[in-house]
């Protein structure tokens, strides 16, 4: 059985809804901590990390428009800090991403569960959609903005040229 992740702060009971945070802004330090968390997702599984501008736009959209995720992001930074204090770097991230022991559909009722549900899980979706999928040989993916359809390079892996029936019939 997986041991409980994190310490006193991470396991504080909270309600399942978004944590309040509308009146505060993320500090530059918090943004860097969040970016580090986002990078660790790529490092552990899918490598691609060259998408800071898109990640920044995502965070901006999630914090500047209601319902704001500012409280969730601040909480995630605090949880990550506690994990790093307890387990070291990068073991704290490894546990959060790979050995968290949390069911994906469970209602988030602790601070660490909030961090996982509202921040880590969404960051994973952004990371895979924006770049991570490429390490599975793909050219295109849901959410990927790779440029115009009319580029010379096809947007997706395409079928090999095939002999059309009409041509075959003409032979």
């Amino acid at each position: 059985m997986t041991e409980i992740l994190g310490g006193e702060y991470s396991n504080t009971k909270v309600s399942a809804g978004l944590l309040p945070g509308d009146i505060q802004q993320l500090t530059a330090y918090e943004m860097e901590m969040l970016w580090r968390l986002f990078q660790e997702i790529g490092r552990t599984r899918s490598d691609s990390l060259n998408i800071r501008s898109e990640w920044l736009e995502f965070v901006e959209a999630k914090t500047s428009v209601a319902p704001s995720y500012t409280g969730e992001y601040s909480n995630a930074v605090s949880c990550a800090a506690e994990l790093l204090r307890m387990y070291g770097d990068p073991e704290g991230y490894r546990r959060l991403l790979l050995d968290h022991g949390m069911a994906p559909d469970a209602s988030p009722l602790t601070r660490i569960a909030h961090c996982k549900t509202y921040v880590v899980n969404e960051f994973i979706r952004v990371q895979v959609a924006k770049e991570g999928f490429k390490s599975w040989k793909g050219s295109n993916y849901k959410g990927y903005i790779g440029g115009s359809l009319y580029n010379r390079k096809p947007r997706a892996r395409v079928a090999e040229p095939l002999i059309r029936i009409a041509e075959a019939e003409g032979e």
Partner: protein, 519 residues
């Protein structure tokens, strides 16, 4: 009651209303037009909404779908209201896939060819120039080398390529003598194939909302007005022939209003348009407008959706479906011969498979090797088809007394398939199963989905005489001078392919007709 006056009032704001309105405004930029929509306005191209759709699979207009308990399926065949239509500004084009296939000539001659259902009062050749215009307007990306149906103009945009997983199915098609084709699909040049077509971040796919927003932003159209949250309650006439106004509720204020108009066009789809006509009873029309022959709301027709799924025991290429729409299709079984044999089918490869949700596995905490294993372990592909449906008089849409969340009457669908339907489905599924077997895949599922109204037609069908249909060949309600219906509801019969391109062409034709009438 608040009273306002216009030249034309539209009920609904989807592809039909926006296209007819645009055609009128191109002829007379100052035309006085009111467009009413029962639903709300949901912001398009909103970045936060798009990100939430991407990471949470939550569209900002999800609440505009029919919800459980709002409507009633009353026939012997279950009718699903799930995800079938969107009640909002822009109508169901907000969520449509943009598949743009023309009907074929035999689709307009069903009665003449089969002795069942009805003929259209217009033929393919009448509509062909409008198909060309509609394809240009919707920016259809299609293959000019195809020859499924006669065309006088090339497609405005080149087609999307077949994707890598299409290759296996194309090879199977060729073994079976099935001709592969590229699906014509409506996308503007700015499409970047994000795969988030149900909420495009750029507005790269036509929707009634985008079309009307552009008209409203055009400073020349000073007499165009669009109202949201304004469910139409009934139509009122000063005589049997003359419709005077639309009575509607302004749901934001609770105020009852009347919009008087020289011309009224009901563009509220195949559910709401017949319900509105049925509800508009008066001493002139005791059974509802256009309903002296009890045809309003009858002949419900909608595609049965057939699927055959197959699986093979590896996916070494790590293929997944990289577009959010199909690229491979065939009309080999969309022919007069199969029409005479009970029903044609339009074949297409499933838009979602093969696929493994990599992010979901990562969310579960799977390591890279643990994610790689299911990605490479098996591959699933699915052939799907729409069956050309047969409308029956007994199958009917009608209004329930209680309102829904938008202030429109709730819907009842009385729908029953005849016993022979299952035999036809089995025959068509057998054709599809051969494709999966020819791919050397194991068949894992062979089924028809629960019937729904995604492509519902015929509930206010066209007919030359009032005994045959609700509207005439110009979409004017029989027995009236100035009431028109523009919706899939006017199709006397459906076909095996999606209806929106044909509705767009019909809308342009109606716009031309109204312009000529004014002239």
């Amino acid at each position: 009651m608040k009273r306002r006056e216009f030249e034309v009032v539209f009920i609904g704001s989807g592809v039909a209303a926006s296209t007819v309105a645009k055609t009128i405004l191109e002829n007379n930029r100052l035309a006085s037009i009111l467009i009413l929509d029962a639903g709300p306005k949901v912001a398009a191209r909103d970045r936060r909404s798009w990100w939430d759709y991407l990471v949470l699979d939550r569209r900002p207009y999800d609440y505009c779908y029919d919800q459980k308990g709002e409507n009633k399926s009353a026939g012997k065949t279950e009718w699903s209201f799930d995800d079938g239509r969107v009640s909002m500004y822009g109508g169901s084009t907000v969520h449509w896939g943009g598949w743009c296939r023309r009907f074929k000539p035999e689709d307009f001659e069903v009665y003449s060819r089969t002795g069942t259902r009805a003929d259209w009062p217009i033929c393919y050749d009448t509509l062909e120039p409008y198909y060309c215009r509609a394809e240009e307007y919707l920016s259809v990306c299609g293959d000019d080398s195809e020859d499924w149906v006669k065309r006088s103009m090339p497609y405005p945009r080149p087609p999307f390529p077949w994707t890598a997983p299409d290759g296996e199915m194309i090879a199977a098609f060729e073994k079976l003598g099935i001709k592969p084709g590229k699906l014509p699909i409506a996308r503007y040049r700015k499409c970047m194939t994000t795969g988030t077509c149900k909420y495009c971040p750029f507005g790269a796919r036509f929707s009634g909302q985008i079309a009307l927003d552009e008209l409203l932003a055009d400073g020349r159209h000073t007499n165009l007005e669009v109202l949201h949250n304004t469910p139409a309650a009934r139509l009122k006439g000063s005589s049997k022939r003359r419709m005077e106004c639309v009575e509607y509720l302004d749901a934001r204020t609770g105020e009852r209003c009347e919009a008087y108009a020289t011309t009224i066009v009901a563009c509220a789809g195949s559910y709401e348009t017949p319900k509105l006509l049925q509800s508009s009873t008066s001493r002139f029309w005791e059974n509802g407008i256009g309903n002296d022959h009890d045809l309003v709301g009858r002949f419900i027709s909608s595609h049965p959706f057939l699927i055959v799924t197959g699986e093979r025991g590896d996916n070494a290429e790590e293929w997944f479906q990289e577009f959010d729409f199909p690229t491979l299709m065939s009309r080999t079984y969309d022919t007069p011969e199969l029409q005479a044999d009970g029903g044609k089918i339009f074949l297409f490869k499933d838009r979602t498979q093969p696929n493994v949700d990599i992010a979901a596995l990562m969310i579960q905490g799977k390591s890279r090797p643990e994610v790689d294993k299911p990605v490479r372990a098996k591959r699933t592909q699915e052939i799907q088809a729409f069956l050309d449906d047969r409308g029956r008089f007994e199958n009917r849409v009608s209004a329930l007394p209680a309102p829904n969340r938008f202030g429109l009457p709730q819907t009842q669908i009385d729908f029953t398939r005849p016993p022979e339907f299952q035999n036809l489905i089995a025959k068509r599924l057998d054709l599809m199963e051969k494709i999966i077997l020819a791919m050397d895949y194991k068949v894992t599922r062979k089924a028809v989905r629960t019937q729904s109204g995604h492509h519902m037609t015929s509930t206010c069908r066209m007919g030359k005489r009032p005994e045959d249909g609700v509207v005439d060949e110009n979409l004017r309600v029989h027995g009236t001078d100035n009431l028109f219906v523009c919706s899939n509801a006017v199709f006397p019969t459906g076909s095996a392919v999606n209806p929106t391109l044909t509705l767009t062409a019909m809308s342009m034709r109606l716009g031309d007709y109204l312009n000529a009438e004014v002239a």
